[in-house]
Amino acid sequence: MQTKGMTALELGQKIKEKEISVKEAVLESLEQIHLLEGTLHSFVTVDEEGALKRAEEVQRGLADGTVTGVLAGVPVAVKDNICTKDLLTTCSSKILYNFVPPYSAQAVDQLKAGGAVMIGKTNMDEFAMGSTTETSAYGVTKNPWNTAHVPGGSSGGSCAAVASCEVPYALGSDTGGSIRQPSSFCGVTGLKPTYGTVSRYGLIAYGSSLDQIGPIAKDVSDCAAILEMIASYDRKDSTSVKREGYDFTSALVDDVKGMKIGIPSDYLSAGLNEEVKEAILKTAEVLKAKGAEVEEFPLCLVEYAIPAYYVIASAEASSNLARFDGVKYGYRAEEYNGLHNMYKKSRSEGFGEEVKRRIMLGSFVLSSGYYDAYYLKALRTKALIKQSFDRAFEKYDVILGPVAPTTAPRLGESLSDPLQMYLGDIYTISVNLAGLPGISVPCGTDAKGLPIGVQLIGDCFQEKKIIRAAYAYEQARGSWQAPELAQKGVE
């Protein structure tokens, strides 16, 4: 049976109905990986043996009724900054080149409880710092729609793997747009939940106050179902939130009548590519035709989100990444002179350029004499940004806008000017600062055939509203289309 074009839920259904075995589903996924990995390089590690063994286990569980999840038996790929017991987890960094976690992330354990079969670990920007997946220590990942272009980042491997039908779905992480932006560039659907919704236990920290794990899949229904599996209150994560309404799939309703949707006029001004703008406004028209009330409004403070973010994220990164010192795990320099020199050499040789850049900036803004002027100033700005969203959500159910100012840039164009690369995060970053949920949904392509995504942002804990709006749009748009490169594998 041909399964590669199926959504995760469709494949789960076929497995449940015994039209296809778990092993067959896993073999199809591996076949596509063999066919395309040489071109795309979505993965750092593919665990064939483990996946096939796990397939048998899940098949037995389905037979004796101990495994019942809607995605039981469906293959999944996990971003390489999410710990997986007994399976190499590198964060795409040399400093963790040999790290085999002794435990799994809570989100991974929950997937497993639902009967997921993990195929492997996906490539990313080193420690999730980057917007192109080019800062990986293990080579670049290519965009399945056009291999001369980047897949976006930092969850570029996860998004490329889903877009190319190597796996039906994947987990990513989002600190400043790292699920939504590559989803937009790769033409797949990716959701960043409200901060505190998915446990961060086992997610290797970058900016702890901003990091969230979330689903990447072919459509909105899959994302809602996956989020249902991975969300939970977890005592092992001190910032986990005891929230209500984990039944995200109940929001898969094709009805937006009366829904109030706001488009920040400051998102549509200078810097936004015309083709992207056109696609975004067309999406708004579709929702309007379905009965939503759509209007533009000034969100304000948009241009302050990026500087505030880079101060806060770098500060947190400098603290979080202090643990990589060559003592307990990971890379240790071969030659050194005493303990401190061992720390310094292991870190200097183990971290890549972008990671060092952010650790240094973070160390600087936290140092005495600069702490108030930079770090506290950024936290005050964050409070103001949160307030401007609070005001917007008094009027609107959902905020609609672009995910990124452009479609995927060409390989090799972004890293030469880091500041310019950071500016590409303008529409995604404030969502992390304010802790909000956001989803990226494919809404068209540019003249070159590269995908464009629309972003729907909700108030804290209002995932259901963005899922509903995204689902309604998707019903009008039509089902997901695979890139040509993946179809070769499908036919």
Partner: protein, 97 residues
């Protein structure tokens, strides 16, 4: 560039960040940090007087629990990733003279 990072500052940052930088890397870092700070200075346009710094978006409080051991002694497993081991412990260079 409005923000000039001195040699002393970059030495200090290197100590804080526990990074050993080559001369070339130091020069690059001075440029990079200076340029980022020029950009970050944009925040000074905002009047934030009286605004409380927000470290967390939700009104969360410290979470306490009883200090009960729930995980088993996993020494062998934890040492599996160690770069160097001696007598069931992590081995590091001499720390006290």
């Amino acid at each position: 560039m409005a923000n000039i990072i001195s040699d002393e500052t970059i030495e200090y940052v290197g100590i804080l960040a526990k990074l050993e930088l080559s001369e070339r890397e130091k020069e690059q870092a001075k440029k990079d940090i200076g340029r980022m700070l020029d950009y970050v200075d944009k925040l000074n346009e905002l009047d934030t007087a009286g605004v409380e710094p927000m470290s967390h978006v939700f009104p969360v409080h410290n979470v306490f629990r009883e200090d009960v051991v729930t995980n088993a002694d996993d020494r062998e497993n934890m040492l599996k990733n160690a770069p160097a081991v001696k007598d069931g412990s992590w081995k590091v260079p001499k720390t006290v003279e």
